[in-house]
Symmetry: C2
């Protein structure tokens, strides 16, 4: 028997690479940029960018903030690093030092760029086509002179509903993007799709695709089976086994009561580790020591450091066995669904836990 206390988070870098290459095959005529914003969805931007830079010759990276771009630059000396939130007073020195490329979404940002240009950098212009989030509206584009419009390196927009193949917004945004690009930025390279858009077909792919979620194993085309490889595995040790008498309550606010005697495993992971608290009375873990041993359900509230799991129907386990919370059998998409959210939020959050033992498979 082992006595263990700490959850383990494993990130499979070759799987990220394989997903990247698979997506590149789906968009063979486009540059495959890697989206490593939000610390590569929590998986470690420096690790992921370094791996793709070395093993896939990836030379185009997207981040959200200047502070993220600086970390990518350390491992990608010759790459273009695009910063989606743009450049501001709170990030200008980082842009200058690390030669980051701002994505410019409005006139105010553009004027700021004109006052603080960076030698050798041509910014990206973000135009709005239906998401109604960041991006130049047509009225704002008209405020730019022809010369100003010629100063960009790329025109991009972003799809709102690309994970639903038949959604009317896809065709609408595609036609808006084509119209605005042809009218105001003829000949300028274009980028419309993130990884969900790649699956919509070649007409959505333009000159560059921005690969994020799918590269991390998430199913961004949920109308079909996932062809991406899972990238993460999450396990946590059983701290204690105990009997739950019939009639007893479990966890904070006593939200579960036993109708019959149950066997409990206390598993050393909780919402403080990034597990969604909405898995209370819903979440599942399974055990696989010397073969599959069965699945246990979360009883009561998820607490900050622990899960209480019903293992009554699981083959005998012991203290120190690892409960499996995420792997190829129960994926980020599964946890997102069970938690009432999406895989993106789940992984972004788990990935930021400093108390995991974090292991990278190279």
């Amino acid at each position: 028997m082992s006595i263990l206390t700490r959850p383990v988070f494993e990130i499979n870098l070759p799987a990220v690479l394989q997903n990247y290459q698979e997506l590149q095959k789906l968009a063979p005529h486009s540059i495959a940029a890697a989206v490593v914003k939000d610390d590569a969805y929590g998986l470690g931007a420096a690790k992921i960018a370094d791996y793709l830079y070395r093993h896939a010759s990836c030379r185009h990276f997207f981040v959200a903030h200047g502070v993220e771009g600086a970390k990518v630059r350390a491992v990608a000396p010759e790459a273009a690093i695009y910063v989606l939130q743009g450049m501001g007073e709170d990030s200008l020195p980082l842009f200058e030092q690390h030669k980051l490329t701002p994505v410019i979404s409005c006139l105010e940002q553009f004027r700021y760029w004109q006052n603080h240009p960076i030698a050798g950098i041509k910014p990206v212009i973000h135009i709005e086509t239906g998401l109604n989030r960041l991006g130049f509206r047509e009225n704002d584009i008209k405020e730019l002179s022809a010369e100003e419009r010629g100063g960009f390196s790329l025109v991009m927009s972003h799809l709102a509903c690309a994970d639903e193949k038949g959604h009317f917004m896809n065709a609408h945004q595609l036609s808006e993007f084509q119209r605005l690009r042809n009218r105001y930025f003829p000949g300028l390279p274009g980028s419309l799709s993130a990884s969900d858009g790649v699956f919509l077909g070649e007409e959505f792919q333009f000159d560059m695709v921005r690969l994020g979620a799918a590269m991390y194993g998430i199913n961004t085309a949920p109308y079909r089976q996932n062809i991406m490889k899972p990238v993460v595995k999450l396990t946590a040790p059983v701290l204690q086994l105990a009997d739950l008498p019939e009639g007893d309550f479990v966890g904070y606010s006593a939200t579960y009561r036993a109708n019959s005697p149950r066997r409990l495993a206390i598993v050393s992971i909780g919402y403080g580790d990034g597990l969604p608290r909405s898995l209370s009375n819903v979440g599942k873990v399974y055990f696989a020591k010397d073969g599959y041993r069965g699945e246990g359900r979360v009883l009561g509230r998820v607490s900050m450091d622990n899960l209480i799991v019903d293992v009554t129907d699981v083959k005998p386990i012991e203290v120190g066995n690892m409960a499996i919370l995420l792997d190829e059998k129960y994926t980020l998409d599964d946890m997102g669904r069970d938690a009432g959210t999406i895989a993106y939020e789940v992984v972004s959050r788990l990935g930021k836990n400093p108390r995991f033992e974090r292991r990278y498979k190279e």
Copy 2:
């Protein structure tokens, strides 16, 4: 006009201190231990522990994991540091090096401790009284010899429903704790209550109270007005202002549609920053440049890096103004409620965002 891109997270250390002292006044006969697990609920365990060690002479700290205890030891050389998840093979060297005190919750952990005792350290025993999570059940306590039971420094348990003053579990757990302590650990110092239990009155306080959530400003006695000071402030800049035409959709999956023309502010913060995605179409921000300017509601889905906010009824604002997401007017408790969860989960998550500009008020 300022051009800004980065959210700002401010942590008020004097407010933490004041809350700690206020709670100590409510439990004047108990040692006031500070709970700084989960990186002090995301607020920075080293910072918080250091501040309380220096300004309040706090000498008792609780963490969840050995790896957290090591960080606290660096700023609290003379304190007792209790580790709630116990000691295991994956943390033993940290316990030995930093003289951490394990909280022992089951026989297996106790046998491991007996094989790896640490000179000068007497462990804590955790007994189960109704939460049905970690802790010795009575049958397991009986397995310990009288001598073994005499080797602990403290007997603790944990309340399940202490935030509901009249809940029957409180009286039940109190009587169980008294019965088990008197029978098996007579004379041993006891600890039953975290900050929610402090508010239940002196009989729940015993020799030590474990102050966490309330110290961080959370209302752990929600049946009455909060007497704790808010500790965090969260703001994020407006990246762009834009008009939303009647009939247009907003955000991913087009979950909001405008019935009338609206004015939008795109605010540079999202679930990648730790904001709950469940604030989609629900969350609120407000503006207070040169006086209160009004409240805006989140439209559509919260995305990874941005919020889309309806500012139609807000007094004129401009790009670079800071939206206020958390402060004394809209607290962690408010956000927890609006997000369908609790303040604990909200702060634990926000506090782990590495791309915030993080400021400590000393």
